[in-house]
């Protein structure tokens, strides 16, 4: 039976919910539904809310599975559908987080029609599957009690609205504040950072600035108003959701200037270089049948979208928010469902964090890539970030079974630009040394020079230890 105690791995991210925890057994993910959640679960199913949300792809689909007789403490055991990759809100671009916020509000609106409400609105509960945001926490719903305010209001403001406002008004990179504030950005902090012009946006004024002032005034105190006034009507609830929705919709995408989002268009070698490289990379990937591909430094996703990777799940990462937003909008526009773009800076990758450093896993714990693409990346690691070639080779050995990697020599016009502001202190950065270091960890299956350039693309295979 799936719920038997033998070889169960508890998922550390779900310890906060007393109504049911997530565990893995034999590589399959299950969720316990405890007796404390019985009434809410029944309402979720009976009211038709579950089927409505899962049919529309808003809520993760699950199957109920049998429990063993000794599992009397479990009300139900469910097996949710598999998500290719669990991402975190600080890895999302502006548009991704905005879509996640709008989905949360849409789900809450539908839930109200079925007599239920969201008891939490954590940004960690929204994942991206098949190119769309989806709620993965089936146990987030509780029966709506008339007169009760939205318990997840504070969390929604801290997890979504404050982050989006900071990204839109101040700097898109401020989403990284989430890394050090896993419970969301404190509203007083957001209010302090936001510029004066945000006070003229009614939604931000009410839900961030006045909300922060209200928290400060009333926190830890009991309000001396009569109980009649404490009722929060259904119209108030609907009004709150409408107001939050327009606040999110009114936040404009920040002006994202990046040296990288026009890289291939502006590249001195554009045109012929890209066409030749596409041909080479495609022919290398055709020989492999990777299930999971990690395109590191994906830029605007040109190589994440090649025909030979159509049947693979492709994780495209880049440190540029503008690039990731572009890939996300392309995926949406072209209904490309096998590609998940995320903001990851390889020099500062998402760490293991949260309670006991296990609640949120590092990017490397979550990725299990069959193939890694590292195109036009190594010269940035080596020259821009002073990383020795042996450290780069060790890193790729750890993360890649198969590797398609491009070596850009020092005399390449784009590599030369890296020396505009720094002296050439990299005598060891040569193709010969590159091959020598990588041969300690990989076998070079094939290499191809990109016509019209001195750049070389390699197909490598990890040497088993």
């Amino acid at each position: 039976m799936p719920g038997d105690n033998a070889s169960i791995i508890e998922v550390p991210a779900s310890f906060r919910d007393p109504d049911g925890q997530v565990f893995i057994r034999e590589d399959v993910l299950y969720r316990r539904v405890n007796h404390s959640y019985k009434e809410n679960y029944s309402q979720l199913i009976r009211s038709g809310l579950y089927s409505k949300l899962s049919d529309q792809g808003f809520l993760i689909h699950h199957d109920e599975v049998d429990t063993s007789p000794d599992q009397k403490d479990i009300y139900k055991l469910v097996k949710p559908s598999k998500i290719n990759f669990i991402s975190y809100p600080y890895e999302c671009s502006f548009s991704q987080l905005k879509d996640a916020a709008l989905l949360t509000l849409k789900i809450q609106k539908i839930a109200l029609q079925h007599g239920m409400t969201l008891k939490d609105s954590s940004a960690f509960n929204i994942q991206f599957a098949n190119g769309k945001p989806i709620l993965i926490d089936t146990l987030s719903f509780e029966i709506y009690k008339e007169g009760k305010p939205w318990v997840a209001y504070k969390q929604f403001c801290e997890h979504f609205l404050a982050v989006l406002a900071l990204m839109s008004y101040t700097d898109v990179r401020l989403s990284q504040l989430f890394k050090s504030n896993l419970d969301g950005i404190p509203l007083d902090m957001a209010s302090n950072i936001l510029p004066v012009k945000s006070w003229f946006n009614t939604g931000i004024l009410i839900h961030i600035h006045l909300h922060a002032a209200g928290q400060k005034r009333f926190s830890g105190k009991k309000l001396n108003i009569d109980s009649r006034q404490k009722k929060f009507s259904l119209n108030a609830f609907k009004g709150l959701l409408e107001n939050l929705e327009s606040a999110v919709l009114n936040l404009k995408s920040p002006k994202q200037t990046s040296a990288w989002h026009n890289y291939y268009a502006d590249c001195d070698l554009a045109g012929e270089y890209i066409a030749n490289k596409l041909k080479v990379v495609n022919s290398f990937c055709e020989r492999l049948s990777p299930r999971f591909v990690w395109d590191m430094g994906a830029n605007t996703g040109t190589f994440s979208n090649i025909s030979s990777l159509k049947n693979s799940f492709v994780l495209s990462t880049d440190s540029s928010y503008a690039c990731i937003d572009k890939i996300y909008s392309d995926c949406k526009q072209n209904k490309r469902t096998n590609n998940l773009p995320l903001v990851i800076d390889l020099m500062d990758p998402s760490p293991a964090t949260g309670w006991d450093n296990t609640e949120r896993e590092s990017i490397f714990t979550r990725v299990n890539a069959d193939l890694v693409l590292a195109l036009a990346l190594v010269h940035h690691l080596a020259i821009t970030n002073n990383l020795p070639l042996d450290k780069i080779a060790t890193f790729f050995h750890r993360v890649a079974k198969d590797l398609v990697i491009e070596f850009v020599p020092k005399d390449d016009p784009n590599a030369q630009k890296l020396f505009n502001s720094k002296p050439d202190i990299f005598p060891e950065y040569t193709q010969q040394n590159f091959e020598k270091e990588f041969l300690s960890y990989f076998t070079i299956t094939e290499k191809a020079k990109i016509t019209g350039t001195e750049r070389v693309v390699y197909l490598m295979q990890r040497i088993k230890e």
């Binding site: 209001y153 006045l210 926190s219």
Partner: protein
Amino acid sequence: LRGTYYLYLYQFQLNMQLKTVVINIFILLSTLTAKAQYIDPGSGSYIFQIILGGFLAFVFYFKTIKYRIGLLFKSLKKKKDAR
């Protein structure tokens, strides 16, 4: 033409009401008395939401009426065009 005029007037009134809502929240925040008793730290948000609720219900109510009036004008215009 008169219908459009009323609609504009209505929109203007709604915008004014929204501004009044914000001013009223300011006043309420500064005047409500609070007893010094311990509740959980999220209580600030909870109480703020209750204060906000009355005004949001008011705005939601008027928006619904505005929407219905809009629908009425649209159907009247359709009927007129059909003639």
